[in-house]
């Protein structure tokens, strides 16, 4: 098992992960992907969702929203806008954010920009809650 990927997950606030891992699963903008050793170079957008990595048989999950993924020479770099470990998510806050986003989207007088913003918020909230409910 010497064939490891070097994964780093960073957000503007923090360096979240910097580890050697066996596999990374990411929510790409065009669909979910699994990245293994010797993956071809790729650069893609990420959507809000669940990012997990496997390390020595253990799976660790994070919730990320937006950002980029780059893979080169077995280095996986995730530049996320926000990110938190699953076990750190505050359920109440997530539910509140979800309700807020829904309320905003129900308004009819939103400009396009506001609409997209609210939509993003909703996706983020959904991603958080979805993961909580699965576990």
């Amino acid at each position: 098992m010497s064939q490891k990927l070097i994964l780093s997950v960073v957000t503007p606030e923090k360096l979240l992960v910097s580890e050697e891992v066996d596999q990374v699963n990411v929510p790409g903008s065009e669909g979910d992907m699994a990245i293994l050793y010797d993956h071809t170079p790729i650069l893609t957008n990420l959507r809000s969702g669940q990012l997990s990595y496997e390390k020595e048989g253990e799976t660790i999950t994070l919730v990320v929203s937006g950002g980029y993924l780059e893979v080169t020479d077995n280095r996986v770099t995730v530049l996320a806008e926000t990110g938190e470990f699953l076990h750190e998510i505050d359920r109440e806050r997530a539910e509140r954010a979800h309700a807020n986003a829904e309320k905003q989207l129900n308004q009819t007088d939103l400009s396009e920009e506001e609409f997209i913003k609210a939509q993003k918020k909703l996706f983020r909230a959904v991603a958080r809650l979805e993961n909580l409910n699965n576990n």
Partner: protein
């Protein structure tokens, strides 16, 4: 012979100053802790971002994006970051010196400035150079959004070909005691040369959704992140510089108090001696 009362007043006044510098030092120290944490945590993101962009720029076609466009022109825009408040040692002085030096060395170019911080504005307002924008009061509540605004502003100026190059001059936070003035080219983005090994060739990325979209977003993000980082570096440096300056001031005040107290005691001693001699002389005179 110095007047005893005067010396006493001096000592009191120096003591008051010392109290103020001491308080300022403590305030700076606590602000520094926060600023230091912020910059240390923001750095990895900025570095990774730079890496990704470098990889990307080395591969892709430079005509693809206006922000990669290397032009011949000589219109240069400098973003310089100073503080709003003084009393922080050489912090602003070194930035201003460096900027003035740069303007002198590149006088043939068409230079303009965006000056952040009151101190820099006070100086450059009276110099023969165009100030495109001033960002005063940034030290209070600076955040990512503000950086985004500034970053996008710079990008627009560049993309609309109003300027040909953009530099940043700011204090980089080395340690609490040390700041270093850096001049950094922000635009056009210069990719580092990727070393080509003989037997391998650079493989292009798979792009999702497509190259242009990603490049566009990434470059915009990069501008924001770089500006944000520069401001955070500056903020941490400022508090560090102020703390060091105030620490020195407090120590100097202490020394001064020591010296003055010695002078005071000497003067008092001399006064007492003089008085004693007078009394003894008087007694002698009466005896005789």
């Amino acid at each position: 012979m110095p007047n005893l009362k005067d010396i006493k007043r001096r000592i009191q006044s120096v003591k008051n100053t010392q109290q103020i510098t001491k308080a300022m030092k403590l305030v700076a120290a606590s602000k520094l802790r926060k600023a230091q944490l912020a910059i240390l945590e923001a750095r990895p993101y900025a570095i990774k971002m730079m890496d990704v962009l470098n990889h990307l720029a080395a591969r892709c076609n430079h005509d693809l994006h206006p922000l990669l466009d290397v032009r011949e022109g000589d219109r240069t825009l400098l973003l310089i970051i100073t503080s709003d408040k003084g009393l922080c040692g050489g912090f602003n002085g070194s930035i201003i010196r460096k900027t003035a030096q740069y303007l002198k060395d590149n006088a043939q170019n068409e230079n303009s400035l965006i000056v952040a911080g009151k101190k820099g504005n006070d100086i450059f307002r009276n110099r023969p150079v165009e100030i495109r924008q001033d960002i005063i009061g940034w030290t209070k509540g600076f955040d990512y959004l503000k950086a985004k605004e500034t970053g996008e502003n710079l990008a627009t100026l560049f993309a609309e070909k109003k300027v040909d190059r953009v530099f940043m001059i700011y204090n980089e936070f080395k340690s609490v005691m040390q700041q270093e003035v850096v001049v950094e080219q922000l635009l056009p983005v210069i990719p580092e040369k990727v070393e080509k090994k003989d037997d391998t060739f650079v493989v292009d990325y798979i792009y999702e959704p497509d190259e242009e979209t990603i490049l566009d977003q990434l470059l915009k993000r990069y501008m924001t992140v770089e500006v944000y980082r520069a401001f955070l570096e500056s903020s941490a440096s400022e508090h560090g510089a102020r703390m060091t300056a105030m620490d020195n001031a407090t120590r100097n005040a202490g020394e001064m108090i020591g010296d003055l107290t010695l002078t005071y005691n000497q003067a008092r001693q001399a006064y007492i001696t003089k008085e004693l001699i007078e009394i003894v002389n008087g007694a002698e005179a009466l005896k005789g």
